[in-house]
């Protein structure tokens, strides 16, 4: 038996929707955010509409049941039911979307607030555009020394950072559960791999209070590490972050 076109279209939509839920929520065990799912489904629906209506015969077949429902005198009863049920459903949907809840409002955070051109740290003015990790050069010039520096950074990290950022640098330290937003996951491709070392230096040295106005009200509990660590220790810990995660800092020059 041939499935009517309208039903086909509806089934495709339901199938894709359930597919997303199945893949993300069940198989991958990482829920698909409802905001993303809503956007995805909107454009999947647009695509289904395009495929089902680009030629005349198919379109006629698709809208035939709807046309019949509206026009045919014999379907008066079902028409009246549909004309009541659909607006009621739409109204209910709107109501449940708008009804105030006890949840905290959804927040749109900027993950990487833009850095200022220059910052004041350790009592001096530093130009972030030109700032470089003084130890990075040893990676090629003196690998032994570089290893030592990374090990130094590891020590600093374990003593200071892992409580929040985790001993695997995945943002799941012992204190992480108590923080919102949760500490940064350095293993993620979207974090330190996207940034220059000077950016990390800025974030570590000046912490939450050093965030620019656009990130206000800052809700980061990152301490101002220039009060606790030396400049050298910060640069070493940055080496460690990249070394352990296997990521490369963003750079403009070809260092390959």
């Amino acid at each position: 038996m041939k499935i009517p076109k309208l039903l086909q279209a509806v089934l495709v939509l339901i199938g894709v929707y359930l597919g997303f839920i199945l893949v993300f929520d069940v198989l991958l065990d990482a829920v698909i955010p409802s905001s993303v799912l809503a956007m995805y489904m909107f454009f999947v629906a647009a695509g289904v509409f395009m495929v089902f209506t680009f030629e005349e015969d198919g379109t006629r077949e698709l809208v035939a049941p709807i046309k019949a429902l509206v026009e045919e005198p014999s379907r008066r009863l079902i028409r009246n039911i549909v004309f009541v049920v659909v607006p009621v459903l739409a109204g209910a949907g709107t109501y449940f979307q708008m009804v105030p809840s006890l949840d905290a409002p959804v927040e749109l955070r900027s993950i990487h607030p833009a850095p200022p051109t220059a910052i004041k740290v350790y009592g001096k003015r530093v130009n972030l555009l030109k700032l470089e990790n003084p130890y990075r050069k040893f990676e090629k010039e003196d690998p032994e020394k570089f290893k030592e520096l990374v090990a130094g950074g590891a020590k600093v990290y374990i003593q200071n950072c892992q409580y929040c950022h985790g001993d695997k640098l995945d943002g799941k330290g012992p204190y992480a559960a108590g923080l919102n937003p949760t500490p940064l996951n350095f293993q993620d491709v979207g974090t330190i791999a996207q940034l220059q070392e000077s950016y990390l230096f800025w974030r570590i040295a000046t912490g939450g209070p050093g965030l620019p106005k656009e990130a206000a009200p800052w809700i980061s509990s990152m301490p101002v590490w220039q009060n606790f660590l030396s400049e050298e220790e910060i640069w070493q810990v940055i080496l460690f972050l990249y070394d352990y995660t296997g990521r490369r800092p963003r750079s403009w020059e070809h260092d390959g």
């Binding site: 379109t59 905290a104 850095p115």
Partner: protein
């Protein structure tokens, strides 16, 4: 943050504007003469302004006013600069094929742009007034540095108008043989003048983003070329030149759709269907390379200032980029839908219908990746379930390599749609059809594999230098696949048979609304991106040199910005419909009974 961009002061209405420029620049000229003998060069630092230095005029919000006016001016300017480019090409095609339909279409295109031309000038004049009234100190500072280019700009407008009017009004006069060549040459000249105008105006606005030829205090070195040839000048020039063509095509497409939907006779419908098809073809051809030009521009912005780059893509404006991605995807979808609908013009198209759904699946799939946000909006429950704001599987889709791979696929499959469309009405007669098809399928296969290899391997397993570098072979792969397939096709369908006559006009009205959607999406997109480009300077008139301290300067929230852009889009669309309506009115005659003396 300020939006009083000097974006394309394109439409200075001739004498009046020259006069104003002269007056304003008067001091500067004087200063230069005086300093000819001096040592310092006579240029002062950029003024440090106080809120009270900005005049309040009639109680209006100066920033929003100049924002909307500049945007309207830009839209019209983009349109009237683009139309002569493809009118020139269509006229040349007409001359080569000796098919008069092309000549008529070219004439009709330029006719639409004539009314828009005066609106461009009016908007340009209004923009200039707004700058002088609301931001006199900024304008004075800019006009000292760009005094020569502004003056020549104003003079060039005479040339532009003169050439345009001869080109348009002389269309039917300059026909046949040598005269036609003279007319075509005028078209070329018109484009040369128009492009020069755009390049000059681009220099002024890119100077505000990446100032050059001035020291950190804003003291001008006197080297006007350095100020013009600043870091972002060429990236913007390339991007705008291509985008203007795509935009012009889409607006003309909307015009054709308007005429198609209001047409009464079958012949008229066929004509405007054909016109809409050609306009859409122009828009798509220019749309395909556009993402790469945009990528180049964004990369150069990043290279110039990490701060602007991060504000753009990762910080404050990141969500506007998601809207941008959605709109670009909409452009691709509506362009494809239009092509698919257009297959109904051919009786031989049924053979290809079964492939359409696969193209749609790839397009939609790539589109979803293309707009997956880097910064997810999560409810608290989702945040808890995920254990943090990072999504293990969606996160990697939020960054550039995934977007690049997706957009290359979208472009490839749009090209495929187009190839199917071209084949729809043809039956190949050469003996190697099977082999030709096999080679094309193989080419697409290896091309797609290569795009994935470059995107996945270099995007996720190397560093940023490799990541950025790999986007170039990715683009080249796409271009090679498209060009090679089209070449193979053209040989394969040489001396092919027609499946039947092409039924121009046999398209559903839905397809015409796709053309409207294309034009509206384009307009909205340009407004949004214009705001982003200008807005990433945040609280600077001229980045790091001249601060915007006006009372209305603040960084709008996303919703506020989107509303202003929407308002401007509606205003522009209303004016465009007015232009369309005028063309309708100009063609109709009323014969009043007994009104005139016999």
């Amino acid at each position: 943050m300020n939006l009083c961009r000097l974006k394309n002061l394109k439409g200075i209405s001739t004498v009046l504007a020259v006069g104003i420029l002269w007056l304003l620049a008067g001091d500067a000229f004087g200063a230069e003469t005086a300093s000819a003998t001096g040592v310092t060069g006579g240029y002062g630092p950029a003024p440090d302004l106080k809120p009270s230095d900005y005049p309040q005029v009639a109680g209006v919000n100066s920033r929003v006013t100049i924002w909307i006016v500049a945007q309207l001016h830009l839209w019209f300017a983009a349109f009237v600069l683009a139309v002569p480019i493809f009118v020139f090409i269509i006229e040349a095609i007409g001359m080569r094929t000796r098919d008069k339909r092309y000549d008529d279409m070219a004439y009709e295109f330029i006719k639409v742009s004539i009314t828009a031309y005066s609106l461009t000038a009016i908007m340009g004049g209004l923009l200039l007034f707004c700058l002088v009234l609301f931001y006199p100190d900024l304008f004075r500072y800019m006009s000292v540095i760009f005094k020569d280019s502004m003056f020549y700009y104003a003079l060039l407008f005479f040339a532009e108008s003169a050439v345009l009017y001869i080109y348009y009004y002389g269309w039917h006069w300059l026909q046949g043989g040598f005269r036609k060549w003279v007319h075509l040459t005028l078209g070329l000249l018109l484009n040369a003048v128009g492009t020069t105008l755009m390049l000059l105006a681009n220099a002024w606005l890119t100077f505000m983003m990446s100032p050059a030829g001035v020291d950190p205090a804003g003291v001008f070195s006197g080297d006007a070329w350095a100020a013009i040839h600043n870091f972002l000048w060429n990236p913007i020039n390339i991007h705008r030149f291509i985008a203007n063509i795509a935009y012009g095509g889409s607006i003309v497409g909307a015009y054709a759709a308007f005429k198609f939907l209001t047409a009464s006779g079958a012949q008229e419908k066929a004509h405007y269907d054909w016109m809409g098809y050609n306009a859409n073809f122009i828009a798509i051809c220019a749309l395909l390379p556009l993402p790469f030009a945009g990528y180049y521009l964004a990369a150069e912005i990043y290279a110039y200032s990490q701060q602007m780059g991060i504000t753009l893509m990762g910080g404050l404006f990141a969500w506007l980029f998601i809207i941008q991605a959605v709109l670009i995807g909409t452009l691709f979808l509506s362009a494809n839908y239009y092509l698919w609908c257009g297959m109904g013009r051919s009786d031989g198209a049924k053979r290809y219908y079964k492939y359409i759904k696969y193209i749609a699946i790839v397009l939609i799939g790539a589109f979803l990746v293309w707009f997956t946000p880097h910064t997810l909006v999560l409810t608290n429950e989702e945040l808890k379930a995920l254990g943090g704001p990072y999504h293990k599987y969606l996160g990697p889709l939020g960054i550039m390599p995934a977007k690049n791979t997706a957009v290359n696929l979208m472009i490839l499959f749009t090209a495929l749609s187009f190839m199917f469309y071209r084949r729809a009405n043809k039956v190949a007669t050469v003996g190697w059809v099977k082999a030709g098809n096999a080679i094309q399928v193989a080419l697409f296969t290896t091309g797609i594999l290569n795009i994935f290899f470059l995107g996945v391997y270099h995007g996720y397993f190397t560093n940023t230098v490799y990541k950025v570098a790999a986007s170039i072979p990715q683009v080249l792969t796409t271009l090679i696949v498209i060009v090679a397939s089209v070449v193979i096709d053209s040989f394969m369908y040489r001396r092919s048979q027609e499946a039947g006559p092409l039924h121009w006009g046999r398209v559903p009205p839905r397809s015409q609304y796709a053309l409207f959607l294309l034009a509206v999406s384009f307009t909205w997109l340009m407004g949004l991106m214009g705001y982003i480009r200008s807005g990433i300077r945040q609280h600077w008139h001229i980045l790091d040199i001249m601060r915007d301290n006006s009372p209305d300067a603040f960084t709008p929230t996303l919703g506020y910005a989107a509303n202003v852009v929407s308002l401007a889009t509606i205003l522009f669309m209303a004016m465009v419909i007015f232009v369309f309506w005028l063309s309708q009115v100009s063609g109709s005659k009323t014969l009043p009974d007994g009104y005139w003396k016999e």
